[in-house]
């Protein structure tokens, strides 16, 4: 086991990693930006180093200062958390070159899964179903020909794309020429790469992802699935749950099998997540995230496994402490992301100083957060303030418990998603389960005129 781990992150996940380390008897080093001097993750670590000014390029993405901190403190490993440098293969490589173990998969695997086209190709070759799609297409005519073959509607996507840029839904052949021109131009402007490909558009899929863990000796297990279909119009997840409710058991088993097969195929080590689009009986691989995810606690709650501790154990060379048969889920867990955002104004993020902060407690409630009464929410970072996770023997009881937990939550000083998520808990369609990713945007579209 490691003696000292450098936590290359901030906020709740830095605190989460700190807790896992301390429970394992491992000392911790926090890094922070000048804007985060008063953050809880700094206070709880055994040592803390300022690595730069507030903006992320100067601090949380400052590879030289972060690695240097690790060397100065005598750390033997780095946990990258999620976001920032978590899926930066070069960072993982530099860490390794300086004698610091990167708590995550091999840099080559990070790089391969980080490139959409490569990841799709590898998964396709491993027998993982992917959305029917073309290779690079150089003209609108070629795109139209391919679309005719797989059938409309299709999605035009930029190979370098991300965040919805360079992406267009095309409903009919008549729209193809102009859609291709604008999407390609947008991709060229955003990514300096206007290359496009075409994918089958799945209208109302569910976003279901499977958690896997692999050790350095080739053993891979899955820890079931999470349903993350409740997404904001920006495609950011808002509410996640485990297991996925109202899912055909055959589809569930298939997802689990595919995930383990895929992880084995890329010789995956550490914690990872395979994201799928699920459309009735059809499942399509979307991407693989080579890190711990924001919503990992819902899996932890139903499986009774501390995923972050497992990450650290695996990276230190230990074998998985359980087999697939040992892993049995119990009940249901739901997570709500408490963001400093205004749901009444397109989830516009907010920053500032918080007033009174009160989090819920009681049976079956877990709160992962780095904020407290009077703490500062700097403008430079993600707007997530906390994750509230509840468990219940059934989904119904978990929803009632979440409603109760959110009713106990008070965050003054900024607008948050608390009340909005409480409203969702009371919504009949949400309670009915099995919603697609288009549900929340439609819900919002119908809701806004009603409240104005």
């Amino acid at each position: 086991m490691f003696r000292k781990v450098l936590i290359a992150n901030r906020g709740e996940i830095a605190l989460r990693i700190n807790r896992a380390c301390h429970e394992l008897g491992v000392a911790t080093v926090a890094i922070f930006s000048e804007a985060d001097r008063g953050s809880l993750h700094v206070r709880h670590a055994d040592e803390a180093f300022c690595v730069g000014a507030g903006p992320v390029a100067s601090s949380y993405l400052n590879i030289a200062n972060i690695i240097s901190t690790g060397l100065i403190c005598g750390a033997d490993a780095i946990h990258p958390g999620y976001g920032f440098l978590a899926e930066n293969a070069r960072f993982a490589e530099i860490a390794r070159d300086h004698g610091l173990t990167f708590i995550g998969p091999e840099p080559g695997v990070i790089a391969a899964m980080g490139d959409k086209a490569t990841a799709r190709r590898i998964m396709d070759e491993s027998g993982v179903p992917i959305t029917p799609g073309s290779g690079i297409l150089t003209s609108a005519e070629a795109a139209a020909a391919f679309a005719a073959e797989i059938g409309y509607p299709v999605l035009l996507k930029a190979t370098a794309g991300g965040g919805g840029k360079g992406m267009r839904a095309v409903e009919s052949p008549a729209e193809m020429a102009s859609a291709f021109a604008t999407a390609s131009a947008e991709a060229e402007a955003s990514f300096k790469d206007g290359r496009m490909y075409v994918e089958k558009l799945i209208r109302s899929p569910r976003h279901i992802e499977v958690q896997v863990l692999g050790d350095q000796y080739g053993d891979v297990v899955h820890l079931g699935e999470r349903d993350c279909s409740v997404q904001k119009p920006s495609h950011q997840k808002l509410i996640e749950e485990a297991p996925a409710a109202a899912l055909d058991p055959a589809v569930r088993d298939r997802l689990h099998d595919i995930a383990v097969t895929a992880a084995r195929a890329v010789k995956y080590t550490n914690a990872g997540t395979l994201e799928f689009l699920v459309d009735g009986p059809n499942v399509y691989f979307m991407e693989m995230n080579t890190r711990i995810q924001v919503e990992h606690p819902v899996t932890e709650m139903v499986y009774g496994v501390d995923l972050v501790k497992e990450q650290i154990r695996i990276a230190s060379g230990e074998r998985l402490g359980f087999t697939q048969a040992d892993l049995q889920p119990l009940g249901c867990a739901i997570e709500v992301r408490v963001n400093a955002e205004d749901p009444e104004n397109n989830f516009a993020p907010a920053a500032g100083t918080l007033g009174r902060v009160e989090f819920p407690g009681g049976p079956g409630v877990r709160v992962d957060t780095h904020v407290y009464s009077g703490s500062v929410v700097p403008p430079f970072y993600d707007s997530m303030l906390a994750k509230i996770i509840v468990t219940g023997r059934t989904r119904e009881s978990a929803i009632l418990r979440m409603e109760r937990a959110l009713s106990e939550t008070r965050i003054e000083g900024v607008k948050t998603t608390v009340e909005f998520c409480r409203e969702i808990m009371r919504d009949e369609e949400f309670q009915h389960a099995g919603l697609g990713v288009d549900w929340l945007p439609r819900y919002l579209a119908h809701r806004v005129p009603a409240t104005v």
Binding site: E34, A35, R37, G38, R43, F49, C50, V51, G52, A53, G54, S59, A64, N65, I66, I67, S68, T69, L71, I72, C73, H98
Partner: protein, 135 residues
């Protein structure tokens, strides 16, 4: 955190302020800002004023803290800079070693070394005061 700020940043500056016989010292660095002012002219100043009463009082001296802009290990130069040393121009005072790279720490102009906060070989974080230069 407030106590830490006092211990790490304000106390050393207060010492530099009082040891340097200054009348005013203002340091601003990101969200951190502190200013010291002397109610009466510094002892040295009043002695000088007594010696030549006709002369205008000397302009208030200011002290600039030179902060680390990288995380690394401080390395003194040979010969090392010492407190009280007068700097003729922009001089390299030390360097901070980060992943084998030497990041020079410069005085950013002439002045007098009022304070050295770090020892040779000491690890420093971003924004940590290294030297105080009196202008």
């Amino acid at each position: 955190m407030f106590e830490d700020t006092i211990a790490e940043r304000v106390r050393p500056l207060a010492r530099a302020f009082s040891d340097g016989g200054l009348t005013r010292l203002r340091v601003r660095e990101g969200e951190f800002e502190v200013e010291f002012r002397r109610a009466r002219p510094a002892l040295g100043g009043s002695a000088a004023a007594a010696a030549s009463p006709a002369k205008e009082p000397a302009a208030a001296r200011s002290v600039e803290a030179i902060l680390a802009d990288v995380v690394g290990i401080v390395r003194y130069l040979r010969p090392a800079v010492s407190e009280g040393m007068t700097l003729e121009g922009d001089r390299e005072l030390a360097y901070v070693e980060t992943l084998g790279i030497r990041n020079p720490v410069r005085s950013r102009g002439p002045g007098r070394v009022a304070m050295i906060y770090v020892t040779d070989g000491q690890p420093v974080e971003y924004g940590q005061p290294l030297f105080a230069i009196e202008r």
